[in-house]
Amino acid sequence: MSTVAVAHEHHAEHPRGIWRWITTTNHKDIGTLYLCFSLLMFFVGGAFAMLIRAELFTPGMQLMDPLFFNEMTTLHGLVMIFGAIMPAFVGLANWMIPMMIGAPDMALPRMNNWSFWILPFAMLLLLSTLFMPGGAPAGGWTMYPPLMLQTGIAFPFTIFAIHLMGISSVMGAINIIATILNLRAPGMSLMKMPMFVWSWLITAYLLIAVMPVLAGAVTMELMDKYFGTSFFNAAGGGDPILYQHVFWFFGHPEVYIMILPAFGIISEIIPTFSRKPLFGYSSMVYAIASIAFLSFIVWAHHMFTVGMPLAADLFFMFSTMLIAVPTGVKVFNWTATMWRGSLSFETPMLFAIAFLFLFTIGGFSGVMLALVPADWQYHQTYFVVAHFHYVLVTGAAFAIMGGVYYWLPKWTGHMYNEKLAKTHFWLTAISANVLYFPMHFLGLAGMPRRIPDYPVQFTDLNQIVSIGGFVFGASQLLFVACIILCVRGGKKAEARVWEGAHGLEWTLPSPPPYHSFTEPPAPNLIWAHPYRND
C-alpha cells in the first residue's frame, strides 16, 4: 500500500477535541502543544517577575514578606527555564526538524507524545507548592544545600518535579537525535543539514548528557534530607560545595542548551532576510560543536568565591574565556552574512538583529564575569542578573520570538499583522534594555541579587528597572494578540513565505499537510538551502 494514500485516509480518523491533543503522535500537534504550554508558562513566570519588580520598586518592604519574595525568585527561575525557554525550543524542533530534513514525522512519535505530556504534570507539582504550608521552595533556582534542605513540605514535590522535567527532556532529546540521524531525506548529508537542525542535534546530545546529572544532584539532596546520607554534610565527610559542582556540571551546559537552538534560529533568519547564503557554514557547525565541548569544562566559573584552590580558579577562568572564541566566530559570521546583503527588515529580522547586538552584550559581561578577581566583586550581584538576562531574554527569548514570527505563516497559512508585530518588537526591545541595562550599574554598585529590600541610594535605578519590567511584561500581550490574530486569519501565506527563504520546509504548502513528507523530497531540492551558493 502506498504511504501517501494511507496517510490521507487516516486524516479523517483522528479523534477530535481534547482527546486528539492528548493522544496525538503528530509532530505538528505536539509542537503546537509545546509552544502553547511554553507561552502559558512564560506568562506564569512573568507574573512572578512582575511581583518581584513591584516589591523592588521602592526600598523597604511593601507587598510581601521576604520568604514569599524568595519563593518568587526561585519559581520565576525554574518556571522560565524549564517551563518557558526549553519547551519553546523543543516545540520549534518538533515543528521544524521533520520538515527541514524531509521526513514525515519524528522518529519515535509515541514517545514524543509522552515527552510533552509529562511536562504539565511536572509543572503542576512545582506550582502546587505555592499553596503548601511552609510555602514554595525559596532557595533559588540553583537549589543549593543546606538552604534548600530547610524547605518545608514543598521540598520533595520540587525534587520530583525536577525529576519529571528531566525525564521529559531526555526523552525529547533522544527523539530528536533519532530523527536527525535516521530520517534525513536521501541526499541530505550531515554537512548539508540546515543550521537549526545542527544546533538541535548538539543540544539534544548536551541534554542527554547533563539532565541525568541534575537528577543525580537533586536525588542526593533528597537522600540527605530524608535518609540520613552525608553527601553535603561535612560532619559525615561530605561537602556542601560538592552539590555546586554536580549542579553546575549540569548548569553550564544547560545555559548552552538554552542558547544553541537560538543560534540555529538566527542562522536561519539572517540569510533569508539578507538574501545571501550563510557565511561560513562549516565554521558555524564547528563553532557549535566546540562550544558544546567547552561547556563541559567551565562549570566552576559559577563558584569562584567558594574557596576553590587557586589552580582550579585559574583553570576555569581560562577555559571560560576560551568559549568567547567560537562564540565570536558565530557573531562574526552572522555579521558577514548581512554584509552587502540585500537586507529587508521584517519582524523576524528585527528580532535577529536585536539578538545579535544584545546577546553580544551578554557575552561581553560573561567574559567580565569569567575574570576571577573581577568576579569576586560581581558574584551574587545584579551584574550577574544583568548578564544572564541579556543572554536569556534578549538572546534566547528574542530568538524564539523571531522564530515564531518567521515560521508562523508556514504553520497557520496566514501572514501575521506586520504592523502589530513591529510594535511588539520595538516595545519589547526598548523595554528590555530599560529593564536589564541598569542592572549592570546596580550590580557594579554592589546591590546583591535575591534580596527584597535595598539601601535608598539604589532607588532611582530600581525604579527605572521596574518600569522597564512592567512595560516589557505588558508588551508581551501584543505577542499573544499577533499569534491569535494570525491563527484566525490574515493574508494567505504562500509556500515560500519569505522571498529569500530556502530549504525544504518552504517547498511544502502553508499550512503543510498533516504528515509532512510522506515521500522523501527530490534530492535536487535539498541543495536549495540557504547555506551554499551551488
Binding site: T23, M111, P156, A215, G216, G228, T229, A234, G307
Partner: protein, 291 residues
C-alpha cells in the same frame, strides 16, 4: 486508542496512543505519593503504590502494543534503526546518571577528605571545626556519623557477584549467538541461565546489605562511606533487578517463539542494557570495594 498503525514501504507513523497520558498520570501519582509519604502523611504510601501499579500497567500495555506491531511485520528497517538510536542514547543517559554518583565518590575521597584534614587552603576548616581530624578512607567523617563500622571487603560476596555478572554477560552473548543460528533450544537454555545468574546477584546483594546493617553497623547513615557505598551499589542493584526482569520478559518471548535470526531488536536492547549494568559493576567493584 487504536494500536493499528500504517506502514508504507518507507515510513511508519503510528496512530494516536493513550498510553503516554496514563504514564504521566502514573508518574504524577507516584511522585505525589512519594512526596507525601516522605512528609509523614499516611496516605502517601498507598498513592505511591497506586502510581507504580499504573506505571506497570502502562508499560505492559505500551510494550504489548509494540510487540504486537513488531510481530505483525509493521516495522521496517528504518523503525528498527530509530529504536536502536533511542536505546543507545537512553543507555548514555544512564551512564551520566551513574557518573554523577561516581563523581561524588571521587570528589569526596580525593578532595573533601584531605581538605577536612586541613590540606590545600583549608587549614582553618580543620583548626576551627574539626581539629585533629586525620583524613582516612573508609571514613564516616570528622564527627564519625553512625558510629564505628566495618567497611566492605573485596573478597567474598562481592568477588562472587563479579564472577556471576561477568558469566551472565557471557551467557547472554551465547544466547544471542544461538538466536542467530536459529537454535531455539540453546537460546532458551542460555537465556534462562542468564536470568538465574541475574537474580542470584540480586539475592546475594540483599544478603550483603542485611549483613552490613546487622553485623557491620554499616548503614546509609555511616557518613560519606555509607552514603556512597549504598547509593552506588543500591542504584546499581536496582538496575540489575530491572535488567533481570527485562531478561525474563525476553525469555518468555523467546519461549513463545517471538524472535527470528534477522529480527530481534528487543533482545539486543536488553543485552545492551545488561552489558551496561555489567560495566557499571566493574567500576563499582574497583572503586567502591577494592581501592
Amino acid at each position: 486508542m487504536s494500536a493499528e498503525a500504517h506502514a508504507g514501504n518507507r515510513y511508519y507513523i503510528p496512530n494516536g496512543t493513550h498510553w503516554p497520558i496514563i504514564g504521566s498520570v502514573g508518574l504524577f501519582t507516584t511522585a505525589v505519593g512519594a512526596a507525601t509519604w516522605l512528609e509523614d502523611m499516611d496516605f502517601g504510601k498507598y498513592l505511591f503504590v497506586l502510581g507504580l501499579l499504573i506505571l506497570f500497567g502502562m508499560m505492559f500495555g505500551w510494550f504489548g502494543t509494540v510487540i504486537r506491531e513488531s510481530l505483525s511485520g509493521t516495522y521496517n528497517t528504518q523503525v528498527d534503526r530509530s529504536f536502536r538510536w533511542g536505546m543507545t542514547f537512553f543507555i548514555f543517559s544512564e551512564v551520566m546518571f551513574f557518573g554523577a554518583f561516581f563523581g561524588a565518590l571521587f570528589y569526596a575521597r580525593v578532595f573533601v577528605q584531605p581538605w577536612l584534614g586541613g590540606a590545600s587552603n583549608s587549614l582553618f576548616t580543620n583548626l576551627l571545626l574539626w581539629k585533629g581530624y586525620e583524613p582516612t578512607w573508609p571514613s564516616n567523617g570528622p564527627a564519625g556519623l553512625g558510629g564505628a563500622f566495618e567497611a566492605m571487603k573485596p573478597l567474598g560476596i562481592p568477588a562472587l557477584n563479579t564472577l556471576i555478572l561477568l558469566s551472565s554477560g557471557l551467557t547472554v552473548t551465547l544466547a544471542h549467538w544461538s538466536l542467530k543460528e536459529d537454535n531455539r533450544k540453546k537460546l532458551i537454555f542460555f537465556l534462562s541461565l542468564t536470568v538465574i545468574l541475574g537474580f542470584s546477584f540480586v539475592v546475594l546483594q540483599a544478603h550483603e546489605y542485611i549483613h552490613a546493617y546487622t553485623e557491620q553497623n554499616l548503614t546509609l547513615g555511616s557518613g560519606i562511606y555509607g552514603t556512597t557505598f549504598f547509593m552506588l551499589t543500591g542504584f546499581h542493584g536496582l538496575h540489575v533487578t530491572i535488567g533481570a526482569i527485562m531478561l525474563t520478559v525476553i525469555l518468555v518471548r523467546a519461549i513463545r517463539g517471538h524472535f527470528t535470526p534477522q529480527n530481534h531488536f528487543a533482545f539486543e536492547a536488553v543485552t545492551w542494557y545488561w552489558h551496561f549494568v555489567d560495566v557499571v559493576w566493574l567500576g563499582l567493584y574497583i572503586f567502591v570495594y577494592w581501592l
